[in-house]
Amino acid sequence: MSSMIPTLMTLAADAVPAAPAAVSVVDLVKAQLPTLITIGAALGAVLGAVSYLIYVERKLAAFMQDRIGPNRVGPWGLLQPIADGAKFILKEDVIPAYVDRALFLLAPCIAALTTMLAFAVVPFGPVDNAPSFHRFVIVPNVDIGIVFIFAIGSLAVYGIILGGWASNNKYSALGSLRASAQVISYEIPLGMSVLGIALLGGTLNLEKILMNQAIGGIGSWYFWTQPLACLIFFVAALAESNRLPFDLVECEQELVGGFHTEYSSMKFALFFLAEYTHVITISFLTVILFFGGWHFPGIAEPGTAGFGPMLLKLGVLMSKVFAVIIVIMLLRWTIPRFRFDQLMGLAWKVLIPLSMANVVAVMTVLQFGWSTWWLTLTSVGLFMAAGFIGVQQAQVALNQGTRRAKSKDHGPVAHAH
């Protein structure tokens, strides 16, 4: 909400150039029409995309596990999301006894609100040749773009914590305990991985970062010079969204349903909606920060105007985002869940030192004016060094473990089982 204030102010100033004394509510609403249309388009697209992404995920999961997946409702089960939505609304809305009612109801609202609000500064189309009534970004030209997303993202943990605590359930409380540690830890590598791009491009504004890459051509996509940052960003963002390799917050085998154990019908659906919106947002961010946004050589170049190029750019951006979402879904059925100490170790012992080294490398290259391609080499080197150290440590731990097991087996100590 607060992010709208500068826009509101500038638009109000534009609407009334001569007499700033009288700003009526009607003028205000008229000045806000493009914003309202953009909000409507974004909201509708996100909600529709979420319901069909669930369908895609179920089909993909079925494919990977050699099943058929949803196929009863409509042709190929295509009407399944609509049936699911109707079920969510029509089911009985249970509020268990002895819960903290206000916070129990507030938690899913906070979860959905924060993820939706973070989408406000994400340009979801070609901003430079957008029609006048539809801007493709809800709040344009926010100088602190990425920082705003991180700030709102850091509030998302309230939804999980309050939901877990207000449920008055031990599993929920454990789930939210894990969530807070996880989200707070992974915020640090998430923010630091983007610092390199901010230094290279000299801006935090998402639209400017996108344009930098589009103008420079495919060689200036930040993925080539910052591959390690891309990996760190993707892993940390995945951890922030609490999806499968990192879903200790709600893992079924240990915590029933985690923080949302006690939630049913539409309140549960709001948590679900928040998770998928988060996935969409991080996919957009990955594409915009590292893969050139709507830019693709030969198909979508900057400087073209008109309706056709606009559609092409939109198509390129959406295909890239969809590809990232598919990768996230494939990861879900590929990598097993981490143990909690592995999760914390990954954040504090691997991702944070690596991202710090990456920032130092970027600053060194910029300070001495070297070619940015040295950064590619540095990234690969850092990655290999981290892999070497990791394997070495694992070997040491393995040796210690076998030694300890051997000494236990042959030792004089009697085991009391």
Partner: protein, 222 residues
């Protein structure tokens, strides 16, 4: 109770109407900036009062978060968006979450009896009033000095206390808009370099202390 349910949307509509009327009134005589200021600061004060008076520590911590968010809204009005975002990340996103956690783990069955009465009411009152008086006096003298400065220039203060911003490098250039990140970075690392370094050193010492104090176990730390 159907009657009670019907009242709720009516109350919401009335609140919306009051908000619109307030906007109209304040916007009529001043500008939209002032209207937003009034709404945000009123909400901030209400949340602050609720934070102090609430008996349930979890709710108090949540109202504290609301106060922080409102103050960030005021920062935005002063064209300091980075300060607002940073405060949200650090305070609302990390510190209050930690508060909440300690409270939730420590007091699962509501607050204890000894939390509800003050142990040193007289001493506490004296200290609080001294603090309030000092703050008011500082604000008053500061306000006299800056009576005619524009609000939107606060993003890059020409003076801090009595020291003026000396270096030309830390003033915004012609092209730069007030409140841009570039100007803030330049000011931080030229005029306020010592303050930044001292704050950084303090944080480093604190984190070393925290690591030294944390309990260690024979196997792992978790």
């Amino acid at each position: 109770m159907p009657g009670k349910r019907a009242i709720r949307p009516l109350g919401g509509l009335a609140a919306l109407g009051a908000l619109a009327l307030g906007f109209q009134l304040v916007a009529g005589e001043q500008n939209i900036n002032g209207a937003i200021y009034v709404v945000v600061s009123t909400f901030c004060l209400i949340a602050a009062v609720l934070m102090i008076t609430n008996r349930n520590p979890v709710y108090a911590a949540l109202w504290f978060a609301v106060v922080t968010l409102c103050v960030c809204g005021l920062f935005l009005l002063q064209s300091a968006p980075f300060l607002a975002a940073a405060s949200i990340i650090v305070y609302a996103g990390a510190i209050i979450v930690t508060f909440l956690f300690v409270i939730m783990l420590a007091q699962q069955s509501g607050s204890s009896g000894y939390d509800q009465s003050s142990r040193q009411p007289l001493f506490a009152s004296i200290v609080a009033f001294t603090l309030l008086g000092t703050m008011l006096m500082t604000f008053q003298s500061w306000g006299e000095q800056h009576a005619h400065t524009q609000v939107s220039e606060a993003a890059l203060p020409k003076t801090i206390g009595t020291a003026t911003v000396v270096h030309a490098a830390s003033r915004p250039t012609e092209k730069e808009q007030v409140g841009e990140l570039r100007g803030l970075g330049r000011a931080l690392f030229s005029d306020f370099l010592f303050s930044v370094e001292i704050a950084g050193t303090l944080l480093l010492i604190a984190s070393i202390g925290a690591i030294a104090l944390a309990p260690r176990r024979a196997q792992g730390t978790l």
